[in-house]
């Protein structure tokens, strides 16, 4: 548990450290910016609308595939720990599990779910 505490300390400290970098600059010059200075860069023009919009994520099918396939990790980590001790049975069981999941990727690939443009 102490190790986790140390890790948390490090995470917080480095995070604050990076955050602090921004403040060095703000302390030097905190004048306000005019609206033209804040226009998003498009090569000289102004955007007509806010960039925040219902963004059409073209790879949604891949994202869904990931959601399901990612679960495999949860089973694989504990499997790795006891793998040598359980022996060939473990190898066979996981192989079966993975082959089942790979069918999903195969299906997705055949359906063209991995391409988008």
């Amino acid at each position: 548990m102490a190790a986790f505490g140390a890790a948390l300390t490090v995470v917080v400290a480095v995070g604050l450290g990076v955050l602090f970098t921004r403040w060095i600059g703000l302390a030097l010059d905190s004048a306000t910016l005019t609206p033209p200075e804040r226009v998003p860069f498009l090569g000289g023009g102004q955007p007509e609308v806010h960039a925040w919009s219902r963004f059409h994520v073209r790879y949604y099918a891949m994202a869904l595939l990931f959601l399901a396939f990612d679960m495999e990790m949860v089973f694989m980590y504990p499997w790795a720990v006891v793998f040598v001790e359980e022996g060939a049975v473990a190898l066979a069981e996981m192989l079966m599990f993975i082959v089942i999941l790979l069918l999903g990727i195969l299906y997705a690939w055949r359906e063209g779910a991995l391409e988008w443009a």
Binding site: G45, Q46, H50, W52
Partner: protein, 438 residues
């Protein structure tokens, strides 16, 4: 304040981050900027402290220039390489603190930067008035300018609107006007893009900012000026071919940079700057090396396919497998073993290979041509296609091709496609003028 002084001393020795803006006649010098010592060309004005304006600013470029100027964070300075003669808008009348220098003068630029960082020079004030894009403060039920769920102008701009998509999902479409100073695109190109997700749904080419000036652009300032000159006066073949090789290498450098090979691109630029016919072997090696670069092929293969029916001239057509070349009918090239290089596929990869091979071939021809002089008369094969008096220059036709090519492409593919066509908006403008009935 000790920290500030210490930082300033360090910062003055840094490479000056420069955002270049290329105006009329600036293209021929543009390749030199990245090679200046102590200068670094950046992708976005937000990363720059020096705005470098190269060439003349036409009326169509003025407003975008002011906008980009204001997008540079302070401390910022503007350096102008006007070129000769100053025929366009005098920048000094619109941007107060402009330092004018001879094109290619890196020392002045470095000096301005050092002064700026050291505190000896005040940062440029904003060029545009302190105006909101729309009245929004205190408007609407929450005082942020919006009404209802999606109405009004929250914080000065409306929200995007939905639009159908072949995908069947009617989601928002961003109407974006990109350019004329957007680094991945050629200088001056304005694209009105309707972007849905990361895919381009509609494209229109905006007004060419080099057009519409009473005098029009001076052909002398074009990067193909030497070829236009050669179309009218006798010119040694070796000179023409050397210029062709240099042109293609500069283009290749830009393409490499776009594909994330910035340091490799500098190397190519350096080779292009000092190019002589004796460098045939180096260029040959370069062409072979880049041809064998798997990652580069992988990034460009199948992107932006142009069929011979769409473009029937120049390297673009030859990259699609058509052996058209004005040099075939040019007596100056008889007997020195010229036959056009051809690639197939017509995609961005083929065009890259095509131009690199043509650069190597051009040096080879320059060596073999000896003192042979080309006489004006037949059409001259320029680096983008044939140039002949009174006809539209090749860029114009290539620009017209863009809307059809880009629709349906992913953003990165679209940028690859545009870069692979080697467009020059200034040439397109000059071509349009030359092609128009007098």
């Amino acid at each position: 304040m000790g920290l500030r002084r210490a930082l300033a001393r360090l910062a003055a020795a840094a490479e000056a981050p420069v955002f270049p803006v290329i105006g009329a006649g600036g293209r021929s010098v543009a390749g030199e900027i990245a090679l200046l010592g102590g200068v670094r060309v950046v992708d976005s004005p937000r990363a720059a402290n020096v705005l470098l304006v190269v060439g003349g600013i036409t009326p169509g470029l003025l407003a975008p220039l002011l906008q980009v100027h204001d997008q540079l964070p302070t401390p910022r300075a503007t350096v102008w390489w006007p070129g000769e003669p100053v025929e366009h808008q005098d920048l000094r009348t619109v941007l107060g603190e402009v330092v004018v220098a001879r094109p290619g003068d890196g020392d002045t630029l470095r000096g301005v930067f050092a002064e700026l960082v050291g505190g000896g020079r005040l940062s440029d004030p904003p060029a545009l008035p302190d105006d909101e894009p729309a009245e929004w403060r205190g408007v609407g039920p929450y005082g942020q300018g919006g009404t209802g769920m999606t109405g009004g102008v929250p914080y000065g701009r409306p929200l995007a609107k939905r639009s159908p998509d072949p995908d069947g999902l009617e989601l928002d479409q961003l109407p974006l006007r990109i350019g004329p100073m957007f680094p991945p695109l050629p200088p001056g190109l304005i694209l009105d893009i309707a972007l849905q997700g990361d895919v381009i749904r509609e494209v229109a080419v905006g007004d060419n900012p080099f057009l519409g000036h009473p005098d029009g652009p001076a052909p002398a300032g074009l990067d193909t000026a030497l070829f236009l000159e050669a179309a009218r006066r006798p010119q040694p073949v070796a000179t023409i071919e050397l210029a062709r090789a240099r042109h293609h290498l500069r283009w290749a450098a830009g393409t490499l940079r776009l594909h994330g090979l910035a340091s490799e691109s500098l190397r190519v630029l350096r080779l292009a700057r000092a190019l002589r016919p004796e460098h045939a072997l180096e260029v040959e090696t370069l062409a072979r090396r880049l041809r064998g670069r798997r990652s580069l092929s992988w990034a460009t293969r199948g992107v932006g396919v142009v069929t011979p029916a769409q473009v029937g001239f120049g390297p673009v057509a030859r990259a699609a497998g058509v052996a058209v070349d004005a040099r075939l009918d040019d007596p100056a090239y008889d007997g020195i073993g010229f036959s056009p290089v051809v690639n197939d596929g017509g995609d961005a990869r083929a065009r890259l290979r095509q131009r690199l091979a043509e650069a190597a071939q051009a040096l080879d021809l320059a060596n073999r041509a000896g003192a042979r002089v080309r006489q004006p008369g037949p059409a001259l094969e320029g680096p983008r296609g044939p140039l002949s008096a009174g006809e539209a220059l090749p860029s114009a036709a290539l620009v017209d091709l863009l809307p059809r090519l880009l629709v349906g492409q992913e953003w990165g593919d679209a940028m690859t496609t545009v870069a692979s066509l080697d467009l020059d908006l200034e040439e397109a403008a000059a071509g349009a003028r030359a092609g128009a009935p007098a």
